[in-house]
């Protein structure tokens, strides 16, 4: 465990970057430091590998003062990923990744073999091995940065706004990849970002810091969203924290209606039966059960359903895997106000109205209030994909 014990960083000009910060960073999980610029989050990160020396206080690694070992030994035991990747532009991708193993004396062949293994792990095409950084896209460079940090298999990974400089689509891909890699490797990751959405998505624990280097709140993301410690945290979380909090409620409990679903080759009786169920719209699927679009029941004639006349169904949510937030989003986006639930194979599992989702949200909130009062261990709350 990394224990930051009442650490202060004061610069010669009197600026206090970090003010008596204490934080216990749990092993094998992602701890996110988040806050506005100037809150001391990067300074805090850099004090862990002593790129910045604390003015007061100590940082303990598994109970041992981090100043006990030579500084470069300490740094080689911690992977470091930086904004814009900071790759060595004069070295090939493979040699970039092999940097720390080479310094640790692994030998050329072993280091390169390890680098190739890591390229695969972070989702880089092996054909890029002999390329130079300028030949890669920003997202690819950042993957190389992650691979380089992981090369010597350090127990700790420090990440300083690693995904801030890439576009949102690439960023989402990198975030998902990081979660996948973390699932496999179980590193102790300290992740700095100014993006609260990123913090909520990635963090097992989130430390919100305020200007002046003070800790505002240290909590699991779900608790952060449900019980912000003060007005600053609430403000920092943004206006839609209620909606975002729904990311932590599974959609599995939603009551899905299967009756308003008809196949494109349905008989007149089947259409009549579906229409009789009372739903204002019917969902038409193809022969495999994959959704095609909505239609009013009276527009459908057996045997001659025109798929190009159907109303778009928007984006479906995967029942069970996606959260209530995804389900609500689907319902809001759908022209009929009904969300389409699909199974893992993409076949329509049922449809659900906004009203039903709203009831589920109220029910989930009531349940959550009953068994997770503030201060209770919110870490057990299962995170589901937003």
């Amino acid at each position: 465990m990394i224990r930051i014990d009442s650490v202060t960083k004061r610069y010669p000009d009197g600026t206090v970057a970090v003010d008596r910060l204490s934080l216990d960073i749990p092993d094998r999980s992602i701890t996110v430091l988040v806050g506005p610029s100037g809150c001391g989050k990067t300074t805090t990160l850099r004090m862990i590998n002593r790129m910045v020396e604390p003015s007061e206080g100590t940082i303990l690694l598994d109970g041992v003062d981090s100043r006990q070992q030579p500084v470069n030994t300490l740094r080689r035991s911690m992977g470091y990923v930086i904004q814009n990747a900071g790759l060595f532009q004069h070295r090939t991708i493979l040699d970039n990744i092999a940097t720390v193993p080479r310094m640790l004396g692994w030998g050329k062949e072993k280091s390169r073999a390890r680098a190739r293994e890591l390229m695969e792990r972070v989702g880089l095409d092996g054909a890029l091995a002999k390329r130079y950084p300028y030949q890669l896209s920003g997202g690819q460079q950042q993957r190389v940065g992650v691979a380089r940090a992981l090369a010597a298999d350090p127990p700790v990974l420090l990440m300083d706004e690693p995904f801030s400089a890439v576009d949102p689509v690439v960023r989402k891909g990198l975030q998902d990849e990081l979660l996948r890699i973390q699932e496999e490797l179980g590193k102790t990751i300290v992740f700095v970002t100014h993006d609260i959405d990123e913090a909520v998505k990635l963090g097992t624990m989130v430390a919100v810091m305020r200007t002046g280097g003070k800790l505002a709140q240290f909590a699991p993301p779900a608790e952060l969203l449900s019980h912000p410690a003060d007005a600053f945290v609430e403000d920092f979380l943004g206006a839609d924290r209620g909606i975002r909090r729904l990311s932590f409620f599974p959609s599995a409990g939603l009551e899905l209606l299967a009756s308003p679903i008809v196949a494109v080759d349905a008989t007149a009786e089947q259409i009549a039966a579906a229409g009789a169920a009372g739903a204002p719209y019917l969902l038409v699927t193809d022969a495999d059960g994959k959704p095609l679009g909505w239609s009013e029941p009276r527009e459908l004639t057996a045997g001659e359903i025109k798929t190009d006349r159907l109303l778009s169904y928007g984006r479906p949510f995967v029942t069970g895997a996606d959260s209530l937030r995804a389900a609500l989003d689907c319902a809001v986006l759908s022209p009929t106000g009904w969300a389409v639930a699909v199974d893992a194979e993409g076949r329509a599992a049922g449809v659900v109205s906004q009203q039903v989702i709203g009831e589920a949200i109220r029910g989930a909130h009531a349940e959550r209030r009953a068994d997770a009062e503030p201060g209770a261990d919110g870490g057990e709350i299962q995170k589901v994909a937003p």
Partner: protein, 228 residues
Amino acid sequence: MSELFDLPSDLQNSYFGLVGLHLREALIPVLAGLLVALPVAQLCVRVRWLYAPVLWVTTVLYAIPSLAFFVILIDYTGLSELTVMIPLAVYSLVVLVPAIVDGVRSVPQETLAAATAMGFGPVRRYVQVQLPIAAPAIIAGLRVASVSSVSLVSVGMLIGNEGALGNLLNSGLIYNQPRLIWLSVVGTAVLALLVDAALIGLRVLLTPWMPRATRRNARPLAVKEAAR
């Protein structure tokens, strides 16, 4: 053909002997200048306020006429090659120091931070990261310094005939032989071009990592200014 390159016997050298001598007298000072400029530039990078005064000193040194330099040096090093080469080495600093400083400073902050975070000590970081990335700028500086050095060597004729191809120019004037003058002037120009081409070749060889589009413009602005 052989008559074309025949030289008066008082030069005591063949044409290509003079060319070799010229190269030696031009390039050894640049090399010496580089050896001095590297630590000086590194000092300027680390101690920021030093850079302005150092630039000022190199500029003042560059402004001293070579003749004045020779007069002072003759007391110590006599009528020798060394007396020619010392001023040339000093002159090269005005180009090399800013070239190296700009090159080293052009290394992105995040690259340096990443190197530090991976456990590079200051020496390893300088040798393995900063210098290689500064190489294109340093070589651009070397090109300017070498070409100017090749053209300046001829002045050495003034002190005990240490001017290599410059001596040939002098002979041409004395014996009123345009052929010798042409041999000297064209020889010097061709030599300068060849040295420049060799340095371009060296850069291409050393920097396979540079994007092709920027390779042609690798010469930083400050060096262009210093070259005038």
